[in-house]
C-alpha cells in the first residue's frame, strides 16, 4: 500500500530513502549507548526484581522457588514467639525514621540553602561564578572523608566541644556524635549543595524588578518573599527538595558513621539482609520499594513541572 502511495512523486522517493538511511545510521550510532543502558542499567534492576520474588538460600543467595514472602514480610511479619501474623512494626519504625530524618534534612538544607542561593543570585554576574565554584568544592572530596571530617568536629574531644568548653559555655562535652542530631548535621552538610544549585538556577532567572514592583505596591519584605519570590522560584525549590530527599532516604554512609549504627535506617537495614541476615529476597524487595518511592516522587515532580510549563 505505502509503495503505491509514495510512487507518484518520484522526487520524494529519493528523499524518503535518504531519510530512511539517516534514521538507520542514527539508530546504529546510538546502538552502543542503548545496549549499554539496557544491560548495565536495567539488567541489574531486573535481577533485583526477580530475586525479590524468590526464596532465601540456606547460606546467602537464593533458591529458585517463587514466592511473595519477601514482599509481604515488609509489612507483615509472623511473630517468632506466638506465630501470629501482624504488622511488622520494626520495619515500619525503620522506614518512618528514614523518612522523617530525610524530611528534616530537606527542611534544614532549604533554610540554609535559600539565603545562600539568594545571596549568590544577587551578586554582580561576574562574581557569581566564584561563589558557585566555592559551593561545589566539597564535591571534590570523597563522601566518606567528608563524613569523617564532620565526626572529627563533633567528637567528645573534637573541635566543637573544645571550643565550647574554652569559651565556658559548657563544662562537660556534649554527646553529639552517635545521635540523630549528628546524622542530621552530617546529611545537611553533605546534601546542601544539591539544594543550593537548583535554587540558584531558579533565582538567577528571577526578575528582581518584580520585588521592586511589590514594594511599590506597599508589600512588606515578608509579603514580597511569600507572594512574589517563593511562588516564582517554586520549580527550583521542588527540584532541590527532591534532589536532597531522595538520596537522604537511602543514605547509608552518613547514618552509619555519625549515627553510631544504633538506630537502623533503610540503607543499613537492606545491607543487613544481604549480609548477616542472609535474606536476599527481603533485601531485594526493600531496595525495589525504595526505588518505587523515589520513582513515584519523580513522576509527580515531572508532572507538576510540565503543568507549570503549560501555564507559561
Amino acid at each position: 500500500m505505502s509503495a503505491v502511495e509514495i510512487s507518484p512523486a518520484a522526487g520524494t522517493d529519493q528523499e524518503a530513502r535518504a531519510e530512511a538511511a539517516r534514521t538507520r545510521r542514527n539508530w546504529l550510532l546510538s546502538l552502543p549507548a542503548v545496549i549499554l543502558l539496557l544491560f548495565a542499567a536495567s539488567g541489574p534492576l531486573v535481577i533485583v526484581l526477580i530475586y525479590s520474588f524468590l526464596t532465601p538460600g540456606d547460606y546467602s543467595g537464593v533458591k529458585w522457588i517463587p514466592t511473595f514472602d519477601a514482599w509481604t514480610s515488609i509489612l507483615f511479619s509472623r511473630d517468632i514467639f506466638d506465630d501470629t501474623l501482624r504488622l511488622a512494626d520494626a520495619h515500619l519504625t525503620i522506614f518512618w525514621r528514614s523518612a522523617s530524618l530525610s524530611l528534616l534534612t530537606t527542611l534544614i538544607t532549604f533554610l540554609l540553602g535559600f539565603p545562600t542561593a539568594y545571596f549568590i543570585a544577587t551578586r554582580p554576574p561576574r562574581q557569581r561564578g566564584l561563589w558557585l565554584f566555592l559551593i561545589t568544592i566539597p564535591f571534590w572530596t570523597n563522601l566518606l572523608i567528608r563524613t569523617f571530617a564532620i565526626m572529627e568536629v563533633i567528637r567528645n574531644e573534637g573541635l566543637l566541644n573544645k571550643l565550647l568548653m574554652m569559651t565556658g559555655l559548657i563544662s562537660e562535652p556534649l554527646q553529639i556524635l552517635y545521635s540523630d542530631t549528628a546524622v542530621l548535621i552530617g546529611m545537611a552538610y553533605v546534601y546542601l549543595p544539591l539544594m543550593v544549585l537548583p535554587l540558584y538556577a531558579a533565582l538567577e532567572r528571577f526578575d528582581f524588578r518584580l520585588v521592586e514592583a511589590g514594594y511599590d505596591l506597599y508589600a512588606g519584605r515578608w509579603m514580597v518573599l511569600r507572594k512574589v519570590i517563593l511562588p516564582l522560584v517554586k520549580p527550583g525549590i521542588v527540584a532541590g527538595s527532591i534532589l536532597v530527599f531522595m538520596p537522604s532516604l537511602g543514605a547509608y554512609v552518613t547514618p552509619r558513621v555519625l549515627g553510631g549504627g544504633k538506630h537502623m535506617m533503610i540503607g543499613s537495614f537492606i545491607e543487613l539482609q544481604f549480609g548477616q541476615g542472609r535474606n536476599w529476597p527481603l533485601g531485594a524487595s526493600l531496595s525495589m520499594l525504595l526505588l518505587l518511592i523515589v520513582g513515584i516522587g519523580l513522576f509527580f515532580y515531572v508532572r507538576a513541572m510540565s503543568k507549570e510549563k503549560a501555564h507559561d
Binding site: Y59, I94, G261, L272, Q276
Partner: protein, 343 residues
C-alpha cells in the same frame, strides 16, 4: 586416590629439600588488613612467585564471590563456621594439608577440629576471641562478664559500644540468658530479646573500628575482638580485655585452596609455608591474633608473648566456645530479634 597423595608427597618432599621452584602466580582472597606484607614478600622471594592479595569484609562476601565463579583466586580464608559451607558447596580442594611437611607444627588443639575433621582442607591462619573491652578508669569492677553490655553497671550507662556483629552478639546474649549455641528454645529467646531491648537504651553506639575509639577515649567500653583490643591497649594502657564467664565466642580463620584454583602448586607451597613457626609469627605480629602454630611464640615480639588478649588465661578458657553456623530456621529467628533490637 593414590596419585594425588603421591603428588602431594612429592610436593612436600620438593618443598622440604628446597628444590621447588614454582615460578608463577598466587592469588589470595583474604580479610582486609589481615595479611602481613612481610610474609608475602618473603614467600615471593623464596619461591619466585608473584602474589596478589585481594580483600573482603565478611564471610558472606567471600562465599558469594567464590560461588559465582570466574574469580581467579587460589586461596580463601573462611572462618570456622563457614568452612563446612564452603566444603558442602563443593568450593574447596581437598588439599590434604595434614600430610604436608610442616603440619607437625600445628598445635594439637587445632589439628582435629569439628569444622574440618583431620584437617583435610584447611590450615590455621589466626584465631581469637570476642569479649568485652573496658576502660578501667571508667569502671573498676569485674570485667569478665557479658553484663558489661547486657546490664551495664551505672558507671558505663550510655558509654558502651556493641559491635554490630549479629552472630557474636546474639550468641553472647543467648549464653547470658542461660541458653546454648543456636538455641531454638523460645523461652530463652524471649528472655534474650527482652534483655537486649532493655539494655539497648544504655548503649552509646553500635559500631566497628574500636581499636581507634578505645585508644582515644571516644568509647569507654565495648563488645570487641581480642586483637583489636590489644592494639587499643598498646596506645591506651587503661584498656582491659574481659572474657565473659557466661560464655564468649572463639573463632578461627583457616587457609583453604579453592577447587577452581589455577595455581594449585603454589597454593600448596603457601599452605606449607605458613605452618613454619617463623612465618606464622609474622602473621600474628601484623594482625595481633594468635596463630595455632607451635613454636611461633619465640619469633613473636615480646609484648605479644605476654598479652592477656592473645593468651587466654587458664581460668577463662572453659567459657570460650566455637560458633557453628546456625540452621536457616534459627537464623531467621535471630535476625528477627536483631531487627527488633536495632529498629
Amino acid at each position: 586416590m593414590r596419585s594425588p597423595t603421591l603428588l602431594i608427597a612429592a610436593g612436600a618432599l620438593l618443598a622440604a629439600t628446597g628444590l621447588a621452584h614454582a615460578e608463577g602466580e598466587l592469588n589470595i582472597f583474604n580479610w582486609g588488613d589481615y595479611t602481613s606484607p612481610e610474609l608475602i614478600k618473603k614467600f615471593e622471594e623464596k619461591y619466585d612467585v608473584k602474589v596478589t592479595v585481594t580483600d573482603y569484609d565478611s564471610n558472606t562476601t567471600a562465599l558469594t564471590k567464590v560461588s559465582a565463579g570466574g574469580h581467579g583466586f587460589d586461596i580463601v580464608v573462611p572462618s570456622a563456621n563457614y568452612v563446612p559451607i564452603f566444603v558442602g558447596e563443593g568450593l574447596l580442594l581437598e588439599a590434604r594439608p595434614d600430610q604436608m611437611e610442616n603440619f607437625k607444627n600445628v598445635s594439637k588443639r587445632w589439628r582435629d577440629v569439628p569444622w574440618d575433621p583431620g584437617r583435610h582442607y584447611t590450615v590455621p591462619w589466626q584465631w581469637g576471641t570476642t569479649g568485652v573491652a573496658v576502660n578501667k578508669t571508667a569502671y573498676s569492677g569485674n570485667v569478665n562478664t557479658s553484663a558489661i553490655f547486657m546490664d551495664p553497671p551505672e558507671e558505663l550507662v550510655g558509654k558502651v559500644n556493641v559491635i554490630p556483629e549479629m552472630s557474636d552478639v546474639m550468641a553472647m546474649a543467648v549464653w547470658y540468658a542461660g541458653g546454648g549455641v543456636c538455641t531454638q528454645d523460645k523461652t530463652v529467646l524471649k528472655k534474650v530479646r527482652d534483655l537486649l531491648v532493655a539494655a539497648k537504651p544504655k548503649w552509646m553506639s553500635m559500631d566497628y573500628g574500636m581499636s581507634d575509639k578505645l585508644s582515644n577515649n571516644d568509647v569507654l567500653a565495648s563488645v570487641n575482638w581480642s586483637g583489636s583490643t590489644f592494639r587499643a591497649r598498646l596506645n591506651n594502657p587503661d584498656v582491659v580485655y574481659g572474657y565473659p564467664q557466661e560464655g564468649y565466642p572463639v573463632w578461627m580463620d583457616s587457609v583453604a585452596i579453592l577447587k577452581d584454583a589455577k595455581n594449585v602448586d603454589n597454593a600448596k607451597l603457601f599452605m606449607n609455608f605458613i605452618m613454619e613457626p617463623e612465618n606464622a609469627a609474622m602473621i600474628s605480629a601484623f594482625a595481633r591474633y594468635a596463630n595455632g602454630i607451635d613454636g611461633s611464640q619465640e619469633f613473636m615480639p615480646e609484648n605479644m608473648r605476654t598479652a592477656p588478649e592473645v593468651n587466654v588465661p587458664e581460668e577463662f578458657a572453659a567459657a570460650g566456645q566455637f560458633l557453628p553456623t546456625c540452621p536457616p530456621a534459627v537464623q531467621k529467628m535471630y535476625t528477627a530479634i536483631w531487627t527488633e533490637v536495632m529498629k
